[in-house]
């Protein structure tokens, strides 16, 4: 131990003393733990990988994974110009539906049955508020005028393709429904979307070259696709699964492929930086082995690896290298730096993002494990390997420059204030990388990400449908401002109370008599009254009521079943929002005052967007407070804590300013990166303040080991092909550089401004300082540098 650069002056509880006392025991336990972890990782079930991209969405707002969409397309080389290609799609869809059985669900109602229902109950489906207008339209003169106008429009060559259906509605009474209660609409309604509904309830694109089906199954996407593909290929059709479930599966595969490259690139970068800093390969290998064992522990005992967690693990390795600083005798105590970095993500436990809530703790634990390994296991291993890293040399005296600190702070804060309104918002419902099939679904049919759900509950299917009918009418008020359509069978039925009031109102209009007059007027003007027979009969017949039970027992029952869950006790209404994500979805209340809750990725994203700027401030403030508290506890100097807080904020705002020319977006995915940049600046600042306060030398090696290791983690993410990882990596890489600069140039200057004047005499100042305690390097390799404090 004579060659040890660490003086044997540790306190009663010392990690260093522990490592020096039991190196063999520690190394043995560590190796045993590695064997166990490797056995677990390489054995069965092995590394658990989750492709969950919706981790930032609250669980209730996540899109269901058991309702994938199936896109059928025609290969370009199989298109036959001499025949109806859409027939092949229909045939393939029919064969797939037959194969899947109950696992296939219709996207829309059967067209003929829906038309028959609407015709039979056209007047009942008009709200009571429209009955005055209805009465006016059924007046003799008004009906005569309507027939004349119909005749006038018939002379137009485009009338036949205008969408008007005189046989079903010669008096244009549906206008009244639109004016009072939004449009009665469903998927496949040609007025709403560029697709049409097939007789089977699937959607066919207008160019006839793509067909969309809906499935309801928990089957593994890969196996399901193989099963479907076997049928589709027989018809010369390509089948692609779209939705959160299949996307999760793709992400799983991609993550497995990326993880080895991510690990090798990251470790190569760390090895390079650590080698430059330590100038000895054995400590570097020991550090890397410790990091790998920590990583293995996190993978085994932590949650499944997902696309949001993988970059966090890379960052953890990069930021964890701070714990190896003591090998150069720059940070012999280490706990303040570990505390600042470990608590950096704790404010995210207040956030609504489940994955970040989880990581706020997981980061703390992971960093603690890494620091422990680097401070106990690595020294023990180095003792056994008879390798003692050389201490830092050639430090310099850091002179606080107050004007420069103020200038840099003002510039960074102004830059941040300038940048925040200019940075585009990256919403939490944005997919990582959209597949061609998902894009085609969005363009040719509808955007599944904009579909949100409202749940209606009842005692049985009829009761539930009745509740859904009430809710559907509330939801219809969102059309057309906030939503494009309300997809619910509840729009087709009426609750008994409403039904009775409508019936009473309609009875007073003497509809049978009115329809007879209409028939006479049509005949008098040269029309064939029989051509309007469905309308005339349906309007006159008030005995056929659109009750929930009638709908469930009728030909629409199978379609309605697709909306029911929990044995008919829950009905899911789907609301298709407009793509404008800037406005929050208004709150809706039911008749009995209860909240009508809309849930879905788009709702969560809009809600998140509304409050993101405020919450960003809260998270940053929380991180600054926790970090400054750690600095204050270690230094007992308020000025140093405040100065480090300013440096931290300057680094964060500086990163925001640089993100604008980088073309980056700001959103919840970047929150951990921003907070870690702040923590890194806090640590660098504390180290610089310590050097100034104690009039000690400042070592570039410290910047190299902490800042560059963090930057390497960022660059590793930047080298991947995942856009979200790239964004996180860019922020961390740039932020690590800025953090070192802010710590070096801003913190000491600001500390002077905040009141800390003369350098404290080092030998007498026993107050615990910041994590950065660079001792004077020994003149000769064997000399012991003075170390004022020891591990606590």
């Amino acid at each position: 131990m004579a060659n040890s650069p660490v003086p044997d002056e540790a306190g009663p509880v010392s990690l260093r003393r522990l490592a020096h006392a039991f190196p063999r025991a520690i190394a043995t336990v560590w190796l045993a733990a590695i064997v166990v972890l490797l056995a677990r990782l390489l054995g069965d079930p092995g590394l658990e990988v989750s492709g969950q991209r919706q981790g930032l969405l609250p669980v209730d707002d996540r899109a269901p994974e058991d309702e994938p969409l199936l896109l059928l397309t025609l290969a370009e080389d199989t298109l036959d110009p001499n025949r109806e290609n859409s027939d092949r799609l229909r045939a393939a869809a029919a064969a797939i539906a037959e194969r899947l059985g109950p696992r296939r669900a219709p996207l829309g109602p059967p067209a003929a049955e829906l038309t028959a229902w609407l015709d039979a109950h056209a007047l009942y489906l008009l709200p009571v508020e429209a009955h005055d207008a209805l009465k006016q339209r059924l007046d003799d003169a008004a009906m005569a005028r309507a027939i004349d106008e119909l005749q006038a429009r018939l002379s137009s060559p485009i009338y036949g393709v205008s969408g008007e259906e005189p046989r079903r509605d010669p008096l244009r009474l549906q206008e009244l429904a639109q004016a009072h209660a939004g449009r009665l609409t469903h998927l496949g309604n040609i007025e709403d979307m560029p697709a049409e509904l097939t007789a089977a309830g699937d959607l066919l694109a207008l160019d006839g070259q793509a067909l969309l089906m809906k499935l309801r199954t928990d089957d593994e996407p890969d196996a399901l696709h193989k099963e479907i593909d076997a049928v589709a290929q027989g018809h010369g059709v390509e089948a692609t699964l779209v939705g959160p479930g299949p996307q999760r599966h793709r992400e799983q595969v991609a993550l497995r492929q990326r993880s080895s490259r991510l690990l090798s690139v990251g470790l190569a970068g760390l090895v390079l930086v650590l080698s430059l800093a330590l100038r000895s390969i054995r400590p570097v290998l020991a550090i890397v082995a410790a990091l790998l064992s920590a990583l293995a522990g996190l993978l085994v005992f932590g949650p499944a690896l997902d696309p949001l967690g993988a970059p966090m693990l890379v960052l953890l390795l990069g930021f964890g290298c701070e714990g190896a600083m003591h090998l150069s005798r720059i940070s012999p105590r280490g706990w303040p730096a570990a505390a600042v970095l470990g608590t950096a993500l704790l404010p995210l436990s207040l956030s609504p993002y489940p994955t970040w809530q989880q990581w706020s703790i997981q980061w703390l634990v992971g960093l603690a494990v890494i620091v422990l390994l680097l401070r106990v296991v690595v020294p023990a291993a180095l003792i056994l390997l008879r390798s003692i890293p050389s201490p830092a040399r050639r430090g310099f005296r850091l002179r606080p420059l107050r004007p420069l600190a103020v200038l840099m702070t003002v510039a960074a804060l102004a830059g941040g204030a300038w940048a925040v309104p200019r940075l585009p918002f990256a919403a939490i419902d944005e997919p990582g990388a959209e597949t061609d099939a998902a894009k085609q679904v969005r363009e040719d049919f509808f955007d599944p990400r904009l579909v949100v759900r409202a749940r209606s509950h009842g005692d049985g299917d009829a009761d539930t449908l009745e509740r859904a009918a009430e809710h559907a009418r509330r939801l219809a008020t969102l059309v057309p401002v906030d939503a494009a359509r309300v997809d619910s069978p509840g729009r087709l039925v009426l609750p008994p109370g409403e039904l009775n009031s409508r019936k009473q109102s309609l009875v007073q209009m003497k509809l049978a008599e009115r329809m007879e007059v209409l028939r006479e007027q049509l005949t008098a003007r040269g029309f064939r009254a029989d051509a309007f027979g469905e309308f005339l009969r349906g309007a006159a017949d008030l005995d056929e009521l659109p009750t929930p039970r009638a709908a469930l027992d009728g030909p629409l029952g199978a379609w309605i079943d697709g909306y029911l869950q929990d044995d008919g006790k829950t009905l899911v209404t789907r609301v298709h929002l407009h793509p404008d994500s800037g406005t929050a979805v208004p709150r809706l209340e039911g008749d009995d005052g209860d909240q009508l809750v809309l849930a879905g990725p788009a709702v969560a994203a809009r809600r998140d967007r509304q409050g993101f700027a405020d919450w960003l401030g809260i998270y940053v403030a929380g991180q600054l407070w926790l970090g400054a508290l750690a600095v204050w506890l270690s230094t007992r100097r308020l000025a140093a804590a405040l100065a480090c807080g300013v440096a931290s904020l300057a680094a964060q705002t500086g990163v925001l300013a640089i993100m604008v020319p980088m073309g980056a977006s700001l959103g919840p995915t970047l929150l951990p990166a921003l907070l870690l940049v702040g923590a890194a600046a806090m640590v660098a600042g504390a180290r610089a303040c310590r050097a100034v306060t104690h009039d000690e030398r400042f070592y570039a090696k410290g910047v190299l080991m902490s800042g560059l290791c963090q930057a390497v983690a960022g660059l590793t993410l930047l080298a991947t092909d995942d856009p979200q990882w790239n964004a996180v990596g860019a922020v961390v890489a740039v932020g690590a550089v800025l953090a070192s600069g802010a710590g070096l140039f801003i913190a000491p200057g600001m500390m002077r401004i905040f009141g800390s004047q003369a350098p404290a005499p080092a030998p007498t100042d026993r107050a615990p300082e910041s994590s950065a305690q660079p001792p004077e390097p020994p003149a000769e390799p064997g000399d012991e540098p003075p170390t004022p404090e020891d591990d606590a």
Binding site: P81, A152, I158, G160, V161, S162, D207, G208, F527, F532
Partner: protein, 222 residues
């Protein structure tokens, strides 16, 4: 469905005499002949006004519906079909806008029908406009399957492409040309439901003074 690019390439090939020498089919020769006849007249059109007689055969009525009116075209893409009298209706196609309104109510009547979003209406409106717009026929035949019907007269039939949902509403758009001038004398729209609209054009005047067209358009708002 025929892809747009192969279709256009094929049709433009018809217009090339060099290729024609290679031996196009009788159908292709007839099509090129119709297009040449039509193009000779249409390429001079800045504006056009004609008397319009419309006959709709529909199962809604006991007898075919007959009406008279005026057709006005102004390059590049304004077409108005206006029935005579305040009780009649007007069809206004202005670029991407397709509007059907009653003469007495005017084009800004909230009860007017906007058909811009309907693919079949868009297809038909574009074909109607391009029938009168100057061009070499490429735009006219875009997204169609042309056919020269058998029988007497210079006729051309434009069918919606296979696989298109327009086919579910429109069976064909037939055009008859004046054999000498090349102007359009009749347009026939066969709807998929069975209705048939025949528009007869007479007294066609090409390139009128702009004031005459402006004066007609000013009537659209009562």
């Amino acid at each position: 469905m025929i892809g747009r690019r192969p279709l256009l390439l094929g049709l433009s090939a018809l217009a090339l005499p060099r290729i024609a020498l290679a031996g196009p089919s009788a159908q292709e020769r007839k099509l090129a002949n119709r297009l040449e006849l039509w193009g000779n007249y249409a390429r001079r059109t800045r504006n056009l006004m004609a008397r319009l007689g419309t006959r709709r055969e529909t199962s809604l009525l006991e007898e075919p519906l007959l009406s008279t009116g005026t057709l006005v075209f102004r390059a590049p893409d304004l077409l108005v079909l206006r029935e005579d009298g305040r009780q009649g209706s007007t069809t206004l196609i202005d670029g991407a806008s397709i509007r059907l309104f009653l003469n007495g109510a005017g084009q800004h009547d909230p009860a007017a029908i906007d058909a811009d979003q309907r693919p079949a209406a868009r297809w038909l409106a574009q074909r109607l406009v391009r029938l009168f717009a100057p061009g070499d026929g490429t735009a006219l035949l875009e997204e169609t399957r042309p056919n020269v019907p058998k029988g007497r007269g210079y006729r051309l039939e434009l069918l919606p492409p296979r696989g298109s949902t327009t086919r579910r509403q429109i069976r064909s758009l037939g055009v008859q040309f004046d054999p000498v001038a090349g102007s359009i004398t009749q347009i026939t729209i066969a709807e998929a439901q069975g209705d048939r609209v025949v528009m007869s054009l007479s007294d066609t005047r090409q390139n009128l003074p702009d004031e005459d067209i402006d004066a007609f358009l000013a009537q659209l708002d009562p």
